[in-house]
Symmetry: D2
Subunit: 163 residues, 4 copies
């Protein structure tokens, strides 16, 4: 029973570029995080483009949803920027309806590379939820899981909350 981890960027994978002083992407930290977590799940990591989720458009979301649908695995974790995670959840849900796939989106408020990140906690959480939740699309943040259409990001508090 294998799991796909689809990396799409977001704060989770941002890094500090010491030459420009800006935040950008190099490659996903997910493989390093799985090693750190001594993860022994049968996991396949697929790197989609690494992007700030505020820059994703409809075509991007369609591609991400297609990757979830076409995956041979029936359990998929998507690492994603938190700002539009819910929106992508909706597009994925429409695409995978009836396919029997469980998709869990997760991300981070602080880049993993910065030491004080919630990313490792969230990755452990998302990988656990995806193994036991019924088919559907969920968001795993703050130790909780939400159906994609029952949650919003509270941008003032920096947390996800039920609606």
């Amino acid at each position: 029973m294998a799991i796909l981890i689809l990396t799409t960027g977001g704060t989770f994978d941002k890094e500090y570029d010491e030459l420009t002083g800006r935040l950008d992407f190099r490659s996903s930290h997910v493989p390093k995080m799985l090693a750190l977590g001594r993860c022994r799940l049968d996991v396949r990591v697929q790197s989609w483009r690494l992007r700030d989720s505020l820059e994703l458009d409809d075509a991007d979301r369609a591609e991400i949803a297609a990757a979830c649908l076409e995956a041979p695995e029936s359990q998929v974790v998507v690492t994603h920027g938190t700002d539009t995670m819910v929106e992508s959840g909706g597009v994925i849900a429409a695409a995978i309806a009836g396919s029997g796939t469980t998709v869990v989106l997760t991300g981070a408020m602080i880049p993993f590379a910065f030491g004080s990140s919630d990313g490792l906690f969230n990755l452990g959480s998302a990988l656990s939820f995806v193994q036991v939740l019924p088919p559907g699309v969920y968001i795993a943040m703050n130790g909780r899981h939400f159906a994609w259409n029952r949650v919003r990001k509270n941008k003032d508090a920096g947390v996800f909350e039920e609606i």
Copy 2:
């Protein structure tokens, strides 16, 4: 729906004592880890003694099992040393049988305080599994969950595996 986290020590909570050069316990890192993970679950942290799990005896395990049974919460995460986690799982399982409680034991191979720890990943994983698994006693390590009587620690590889 509240969750109890019962801390019993183990590698998870060990620290380096710079005056003696030895590993020992001060207080549990679980509260700091919950803050790092931006955890918004309704969690109560109860500190049992912090101990190396090789030093736990039958009376200790009975106390830990009693704490699980007497907790008002029906979801309990126990942080525990990995060496005798399975043994404690059995004692807890006997104590809580029929109580409707879900108990998930977790721990770490590297102390959380040492930077390269699997502890934050495991805590995120255990807190997620405990919310969705049916009543019973489980071990959450390496991103996986096992019924307490279907698992052993492979001490040569440092991982938990199904039996």
Copy 3:
């Protein structure tokens, strides 16, 4: 024989704001870094404004130079952004000429808060050089020390080099 550490900002003290996703300043990490380094020097930390060094103007540099000149300590470490460290060095040198003060400017290529920073190494280096170098203005980066007018930042390589 006391040392003044004057903090002026720069990459050294930048943090990630998880609500805005931007890098900014809160308060200086220097006190925490001194604790981490088990520093037992007689040090006084004075926080000037925390600023990106690209945003410093002539009036700012005059203030920084005045703070160096007016300090009762004859040994001063200035934490400063790397981009205009040399320029500030020149203003300080003009101000303190003949005063018998040793000033060492240092900074970081990666924010201290991000885990992989050179900041702690540089702070240890600057505090050491300031104790033993004769009066004058120096830059301590990359384990080296340079007279302020014999150095430039190579922005392509991200290192300081002699001229």
Copy 4:
């Protein structure tokens, strides 16, 4: 003007062995620390055996002193356990007397691998002192430098102090 870094072990280079739960040595972290510090000094790293300094005997100290004396570099940093750093300093001082070599011993109270270490601060400090102090044997700890025969480790406070 090259610098030799001679690594002899000590807390500085200890690691946590996750299979045994004990502290031991694998290889020195000095090269990684130099990279982290963006060090651009002309440095050669020579690994002597990695040892707890409480286990060093007279023959060991003679070997370390010989390595300092025979080095083509006239500036040597020795990473060393703190417990017997002063004792080794004396043996090195006798060996290199009159050779024109500056030797600076340094170490750490917390292993570099454990995240909260003073090691990077101390390495930056030692590398700076060794470039500017006159020939002789010194100890660089806590941001300070001491002549080897004017210092002791206060084991209750975990700091070095002048005598």
